[in-house]
C-alpha cells in the first residue's frame, strides 16, 4: 500500500477548513467555531492512525514522501546545481510531536470558544498556524523546515496582536522582532550549509558531517552550532533570550498560549535535538558543559522568579522557562537517559502547560483576573476547577504517576552520570518548583475566599473535554511511559550513533 499521501494530507488538511471559513459570512459565530474545531480533526485522526501503524509493528518510513521541487540550474540546463526537494517524513520523535500538535490544536480550538470577536479571521489564522506547526515537525530538509517555521510566525503575530489582552501590540511586536532575528540567524546557517554541501536534507547532512573530507572546518561547524543554539534558544527560550515569551504568555488569548507554550516553544527543543545534536554531534559534545550550565541557569532562574510573581500567568511563564531548562539538562547529558528525558519533557510539558493555560482561560473568563491575591479560596466556589488546577500543578512539579516525573527523573539520571556537580545544583530546582507552584496554586484555591464566588459556574459541558483528555494523557505517560519510549527507540539509536556511543 502506498502511504506517501498521508503526510501531505495531514499537514495541509486544515486548508480545507480555511477554504470553508473563507466562504462563510463573518457573523455566523457558532458555525465558524464549529468549522474551526472540525478542521483540526483530520490531522488528529491521521496522526493517531500513524501511531497505530507504528504500534502494528510497521515501519514509519512508509510515510516518507520526496519529489523534486525547486531547482537552480546553471549553464548546463540538464544538471541542476542546487535542488530542493519537497520531502516529508516521520521518525518516532516526529510522530510524537505531530500527535502532540494535533491533540493540542484540537483542544485549543475548543478553548477558542471564548474568543469574543472576529471569529472568522481568528480561526483562519489558527488553522494556518496549525499547518505551519505540522509542517515544521514533518519537514525532512532545512529549506522546507524554514518555510513552515516562518508560516508559524506570521499567524501567531496576528493572533497575539489582535485577540490578546491589554498590551497585545507590544507583546506581538516583541514576539516578531525576537523570532524574526532568530529566523535570520537560522536562515544564515541553512544557507551556509546549503552552499557548502549542496543539500539541505537533514539525514544527508548528518551523514556528510561525519565525513572527514567534508568541506567544513571544525571551527565553522562549532560556529554553526552556536548559531543554531541562538536561533532555537530564542524559541525555547534560553536565558537571557526569554523576555519576549513572558509578554506573549501574559497577553495572548488562552487558546493561543496553549499552542504557544504547548507546541511553539517545543520547536526550539526539536530544532536543537534534530539539527543541533543530529547534525553536529561532535561539536555538541564540546559544548555539553556549557549547555548543562545554561540548563541549570534556566531551571533555577525561572523557578526563583516564578516564586515572587503576583500574576498566575507570569508564574506559568517563568515556570515554562524553568521547565525548558530540564530539556537542556537532559540534552547536555548526551546519554540515552538524558536525551530520552529531554524528549519526554518536550511532550510532557506540552501537555501540562496546555492544561494549565486552559484552566487559566477558564478562570479568567469567569473572574476577569489571574492575580493570585484576587483569587483566594477558589476551591469553595469552583471545587472541580480548583481540583484540576491542583492536579495540573502536581503534574508540573513532577509528581510520580504523571508525565513530568518520568521526564525530570530521566534528565537528572542522565546528567548525574556525566556532570554530577552541575546536576546536584540543578536539583534545587526540584524543591523550588514545588515551592512556587504550591504558593501560587494554594494562594488561589485554598485559604479564605477574598471575594464572593456565588454564581460563578464551575467547569461545565464541553470544557471538560480538554481538561480530561490532557489529564488522562499526562497520567498515561506517567504510569505507562512505554507509549512514548517505544516510538523513540529508533530515534535514540540514531542520535547515539551520531554521538559515537
Amino acid at each position: 500500500m502506498n502511504l506517501s499521501w498521508v503526510l501531505t494530507t495531514l499537514v495541509f488538511s486544515p486548508l480545507a477548513g480555511i477554504a470553508v471559513l473563507a466562504l462563510l459570512p463573518k457573523t455566523q459565530e457558532k458555525l465558524i467555531k464549529l468549522i474551526g474545531f472540525l478542521a483540526t480533526l483530520p490531522p488528529l485522526a491521521l496522526g493517531l492512525a500513524a501511531y497505530l501503524h507504528f504500534l502494528d509493528g510497521k515501519k514509519l518510513s512508509d510515510f516518507a514522501v520526496s519529489t523534486e521541487w525547486i531547482q537552480f540550474r546553471g549553464m548546463n540546463v540538464n544538471e541542476p546545481i542546487y535542488s530542493v526537494y519537497y520531502e516529508l517524513g516521520l521518525s518516532g520523535f516526529q510522530l510524537l510531536l505531530v500527535v502532540l500538535t494535533a491533540v493540542v490544536a484540537t483542544l485549543a480550538a475548543i478553548a477558542a470558544r471564548s474568543v469574543k470577536k472576529e471569529w472568522k479571521g481568528f480561526f483562519m489564522l489558527f488553522l494556518l498556524l496549525e499547518i505551519g506547526m505540522l509542517g515544521v515537525f514533518t519537514a525532512e530538509n532545512l529549506i522546507l523546515f524554514f518555510l513552515f517555521f516562518e508560516i508559524t510566525l506570521i499567524p501567531t503575530f496576528f493572533l497575539i496582536g489582535k485577540w490578546g489582552y491589554f498590551e497585545k501590540e507590544k507583546a506581538a511586536y516583541s514576539f516578531l522582532i525576537y523570532n524574526g532575528l532568530g529566523s535570520a540567524v537560522l536562515l544564515i546557517v541553512i544557507m551556509i550549509l546549503f552552499a557548502k554541501t549542496g543539500t539541505t536534507n537533514i539525514d544527508l547532512l548528518a551523514h556528510i558531517m561525519t565525513d572527514e573530507t567534508a568541506p567544513l572546518s571544525g571551527a565553522l561547524k562549532l560556529g554553526l552550532l552556536i548559531s543554531l543554539l541562538v536561533a532555537f534558544g530564542v524559541k525555547l527560550p534560553i536565558f537571557p533570550l526569554h523576555s519576549w515569551m513572558l509578554r506573549v504568555h501574559v497577553q495572548a488569548p488562552p487558546a493561543v498560549v496553549m499552542i504557544h507554550s504547548g507546541i511553539l516553544l517545543k520547536i526550539g527543543a526539536y530544532g536543537l535535538i534534530r539539527f543541533g545534536m543530529g547534525i553536529f554531534p561532535e561539536q555538541f559534545e564540546t559544548l555539553a558543559v556549557a549547555i548543562a550550565i545554561l540548563g541549570v541557569i534556566n531551571l533555577l532562574y525561572g523557578a526563583f522568579l516564578a516564586f515572587i510573581q503576583t500574576d498566575f500567568k507570569m508564574v506559568l511563564a517563568y515556570s515554562s522557562i524553568s521547565h525548558m531548562g530540564i530539556v537542556l539538562i537532559g540534552l547536555a547529558a548526551m546519554n540515552e537517559a538524558g536525551i530520552q528525558g529531554a524528549i519526554f519533557q518536550v511532550i510532557s510539558h506540552g501537555l501540562i502547560s496546555a492544561l494549565l493555560f486552559f484552566l487559566v482561560g477558564v478562570l479568567y473568563e469567569r473572574t476577569d483576573t489571574s492575580l493570585i491575591d484576587n483569587l483566594g479560596g477558589l476551591a469553595k466556589g469552583m471545587p472541580i476547577t480548583a481540583g484540576f488546577l491542583l492536579a495540573a500543578a502536581m503534574a508540573s512539579l513532577g509528581l510520580p504517576g504523571m508525565s513530568g516525573f518520568v521526564s525530570e527523573f530521566m534528565a537528572f539520571l542522565g546528567l548525574f552520570r556525566e556532570l554530577p556537580w552541575i546536576a546536584a545544583v540543578g536539583t534545587i530546582g526540584i524543591i523550588m518548583t514545588a515551592a512556587y507552584l504550591l504558593r501560587a496554586v494554594l494562594g488561589m484555591t485554598y485559604g479564605k475566599a477574598h471575594r464572593e464566588f456565588v454564581g460563578v459556574a464551575d467547569l461545565r459541558g464541553v470544557e471538560f473535554v480538554p481538561v480530561v483528555v490532557l489529564m488522562l494523557l499526562i497520567v498515561l505517560i506517567g504510569v505507562y511511559p512505554s507509549v512514548l519510549s517505544s516510538p523513540l527507540q529508533a530515534t535514540l539509536e540514531t542520535l547515539m550513533l551520531g554521538l559515537g556511543g
Binding site: I177, A195, E336, M432
Partner: protein, 621 residues
C-alpha cells in the same frame, strides 16, 4: 502471595469510585472506603500468614526502557513487607471506620474518604516495592496524600500553610533520596534492592560512595519521618482532621522513613559512618522533640512531638545496628500511637477544643476513652507488661550494645521525659476539675470506640510477639535468611531493663506530683528556668530560624533575580529593538524621492556586482 499486588489496588479503586460518584453517595461513601480497606486487610492477613511458612515472593516486569537500561516495576513480599502490609492496612481500616463517626455531618466526607483511599493505596504500594525507584514513586504519592489531608480544611489559613510546609519540607528530604538513589544506580547499575545489596557485598561500590549515598538516602528518611532538622512540618500537620493524624502522622507515613532505612539496611551497615549518622540524628531527635513535648498545651501537638521523638528512637535503634529493635518499635508504636491519636480525637470530639488547659476531669465523663487513653499512655511510657516496654527495652539494649554510651544516655533521658509529658497530658485531661465551659460532654459513638478498643488490645499484647512465650521471636523471623540484618534477638544485661523501668516510673511519679497530687506547683518549671521554658515553649525557635535564613534568602535571591530581569535582560531587549528601529529610521531617510540618487545607487551597485562576477568567474562557491 502472588495476589499481594491486589492489596494496594483496593484503596485505589475506592479513591477512583469516590472521585467519580462520591458526591452522589454522600455519607454512604464511608462504606465504600471501609469495605475496600477491609478487603486489603483480609488479603494482608492472608499474605502475612502465608509468609510465615513460605519464602519471599518477587515478581517484576519492564516498566521503562532507556536504551539498554530496563527499569522494572513489580512487587515483593518479604518479612518486613508482609509485616508492614498488615500494620498499614489494619490501621487504615480502623481509621476508616473511626472516621465514619468523627467526620459525621461534614458535607465533604466523600472527598475525605477519597483522599484516605489515595493515601492508603500509596502507602501499601510503598511497602511492597521491590526496587528503589518504585519506592520513590510511592514515597512521593504518600506525600501528596498527606498533603491533601493536612489541607483538608482548605478554607483555614493554618491548614493551607501547614499543607504547603509539609509538602516542601518533605520534598527537601526527597531530593536527597533522589540524588542518593541516582548515584547508587550509576554505581550498581540497578535500582533493585537485591542487586544493590549484591553489588555492595561484592565491594563494587567505593566506601566514600557508600557513605555518601546512604546519607543522602537517609536525608529522605529524615524529611519523611520528621527527624531533626526537618521535623518542623510534623507538628504543624496536626491541622488535618485527627483520624488523619492517627493514620498518617503517627502510624504509617512518618514511619516510612524508618521503613526505608530498614529496607536498605545492608547498605547502611556497610558504612559505619552512615550508621553513626543515623543513630546520632535519631538520638538527638528523640531527646530534642521530647523536651519540646514537655511544655506544649495542644493535645495533638504534644502527641506530634511525641511521635517525632519516638521515630528518633527507631532511627537510633537502626543506627545502632538494631534492625529488629527498630522494626519492632515501629510496629508497637503504630498501635499505641494510633490509639492515642484516636482517643485524643474522641476527647476533641467531646469537648471541641484541643487546649489541655481547658480540659480536666474527663475520666468520669468519657468512660471508655479514658481507660483506653491510659493504656496508650502506659504503653508509650514503657511500663512493664505493655507493648512499649518490650520494644523500648530492645532499643536501649541495641544502643548499649552498639557501643554508644552517650546515645544510650540520650535514649534513657528521652524515656524519662516521655513518661513525664505523657502523664502530664493524661492528668491534665482526665483528672482534677473541669477547667472549660463544656456542656453535654458525652462518649463517642461505638463506631469510634470500637477501633480504639482493637488498638488498645494490640497496644497491650503486641509486645509479646518478640518474647519466647509464643514459641519463637518476631526478631528471628524478621532476620531469617538474611545475615546482613544482624541478630534476631539478643539477651541484654538485666540492669538495662531495670533502669528503663525505673526511669519510666520516675517520670510518671513526677508528673503525678505536679499534675495529679499537685504537691509541686505547676509553674515550678517555668519559674525555675524561665529562659529554658520559653525556649522549649517556642520549640527552640527553629521555625523562626528558618524564616530568617532559608526563606528570607530565597525571597531575597528571587528579588535580586527580578532586578536582573527588569534591568539587564530588558536592557538587552531595549537595545535590540533600538537597533531595529534605528535601521528602520535610516532606511526611511534614504527614501528621499530624488530619482538621481536612486539612479546613482543602482548603477554603482551594478558595477560592483559586475566586478565580483568577473573576479570569481560566476558562482560564489
Amino acid at each position: 502471595m502472588e495476589n499481594a499486588w491486589l492489596i494496594p489496588l483496593f484503596p485505589l479503586l475506592s479513591f477512583l469510585i469516590l472521585l467519580l460518584i462520591g458526591k452522589r453517595l454522600k455519607e454512604a461513601s464511608a462504606y465504600v472506603g471501609i469495605l475496600f480497606t477491609l478487603a486489603s486487610l483480609v488479603f494482608s492477613i492472608l499474605v502475612l500468614f502465608e509468609r510465615f511458612s513460605e519464602p519471599t515472593f518477587l515478581k517484576k516486569f519492564d516498566w521503562l526502557t532507556i536504551g539498554d537500561l530496563h527499569l522494572t516495576a513489580g512487587f515483593e513480599v518479604n518479612q518486613l513487607n508482609a509485616l508492614m502490609l498488615f500494620i498499614v492496612s489494619l490501621v487504615s481500616f480502623l481509621v476508616h471506620t473511626y472516621s465514619k463517626g468523627y467526620m459525621h455531618g461534614d458535607e465533604r466526607m466523600p472527598v475525605f474518604y477519597a483522599y484516605l483511599g489515595l493515601f492508603t493505596f500509596a502507602m501499601l504500594g510503598l511497602v511492597i516495592s521491590p526496587n528503589l525507584l518504585q519506592t520513590y514513586i510511592f514515597w512521593e504519592l504518600v506525600g501528596v496524600g498527606s498533603f491533601l489531608l493536612i489541607g483538608f480544611y482548605f478554607y483555614k489559613e493554618e491548614a493551607k500553610a501547614a499543607a504547603k510546609k509539609a509538602f516542601i519540607m518533605t520534598r527537601i528530604g526527597d531530593v536527597g533520596l533522589l540524588i542518593g538513589m541516582i548515584l547508587l544506580f550509576w554505581q550498581t547499575k540497578s535500582f533493585e534492592y537485591s542487586e544493590i545489596f549484591q553489588a555492595v557485598e561484592a565491594g563494587a561500590v567505593s566506601n566514600t560512595m557508600l557513605t555518601l549515598t546512604a546519607i543522602l538516602i537517609f536525608i529522605g528518611a529524615v524529611g519523611k519521618s520528621g527527624q531533626f532538622p526537618l521535623h518542623t512540618w510534623l507538628p504543624d500537620a496536626m491541622e488535618g482532621p485527627t483520624p488523619v493524624s492517627a493514620l498518617i502522622h503517627a502510624a504509617t507515613m512518618v514511619a516510612a522513613g524508618v521503613y526505608l532505612v530498614a529496607a536498605l539496611f545492608p547498605l547502611f551497615t556497610a558504612s559505619p559512618t552512615a550508621l553513626l549518622t543515623v543513630a546520632t540524628v535519631g538520638a538527638v531527635t528523640a531527646i530534642f522533640a521530647a523536651s519540646i513535648g514537655l511544655v506544649q498545651t495542644d493535645i495533638k501537638r504534644v502527641l506530634a512531638y511525641s511521635t517525632v521523638s519516638q521515630l528518633g528512637y527507631m532511627m537510633l535503634a537502626l543506627g545502632s545496628a538494631g534492625y529488629v529493635a527498630g522494626v519492632f518499635h515501629l510496629m508497637t508504636h503504630a498501635f499505641f500511637k494510633a490509639l492515642l491519636f484516636l482517643a485524643a480525637g474522641s476527647v476533641i470530639h467531646a469537648v471541641h477544643t484541643q487546649n489541655i488547659e481547658e480540659m480536666g476531669g474527663l475520666w468520669k465523663k468519657l468512660k471508655l476513652t479514658g481507660p483506653l487513653f491510659l493504656i496508650g499512655t502506659l504503653a508509650i511510657s514503657g511500663v512493664p507488661g505493655l507493648s512499649g516496654f518490650f520494644s523500648k527495652d530492645e532499643i536501649l539494649v541495641a544502643a548499649w550494645e552498639g557501643g554508644h554510651p552517650v546515645l544510650f544516655l540520650f535514649a534513657l533521658i528521652a524515656a524519662f521525659m516521655t513518661a513525664f509529658y505523657m502523664f502530664r497530658l493524661f492528668f491534665m485531661v482526665f483528672t482534677g476539675e473541669s477547667r472549660g465551659q463544656q456542656k453535654n460532654v458525652h462518649e463517642s459513638p461505638s463506631v469510634m470506640t470500637m477501633p480504639m478498643v482493637v488498638l488498645g488490645v494490640l497496644a497491650v499484647i503486641a509486645g509479646y510477639v518478640n518474647t519466647p512465650w509464643f514459641g519463637s521471636f518476631l526478631g528471628d523471623w524478621l532476620v531469617d535468611g538474611n545475615e546482613a540484618l544482624g541478630h534476631g534477638h539478643i539477651e541484654g544485661p538485666i540492669w538495662i531493663m531495670i533502669a528503663a523501668t525505673v526511669v519510666s516510673l520516675a517520670g510518671i511519679y513526677l508528673a503525678w506530683l505536679i499534675y495529679g497530687k499537685r504537691s509541686i506547683a505547676r509553674d515550678w518549671l517555668s519559674g525555675q528556668g524561665g529562659m529554658l521554658y520559653t525556649v522549649l515553649y517556642n520549640k527552640y525557635y527553629i521555625d523562626e530560624f528558618y524564616q530568617l535564613t532559608v526563606i528570607a534568602f530565597t525571597k531575597g535571591f528571587s528579588y535580586f533575580l527580578r532586578f536582573i530581569d527588569t534591568f539587564i535582560v530588558e536592557g538587552i531587549v531595549k537595545g535590540v529593538s533600538g537597533i531595529v528601529q534605528g535601521l528602520g529610521a535610516m532606511g526611511s531617510k534614504m527614501q528621499t524621492g530624488r530619482a538621481q540618487t536612486y539612479g546613482t545607487v543602482a548603477f554603482v551597485s551594478l558595477a560592483v556586482l559586475a566586478v565580483i562576477f568577473a573576479l570569481t568567474g560566476g558562482y560564489l562557491r
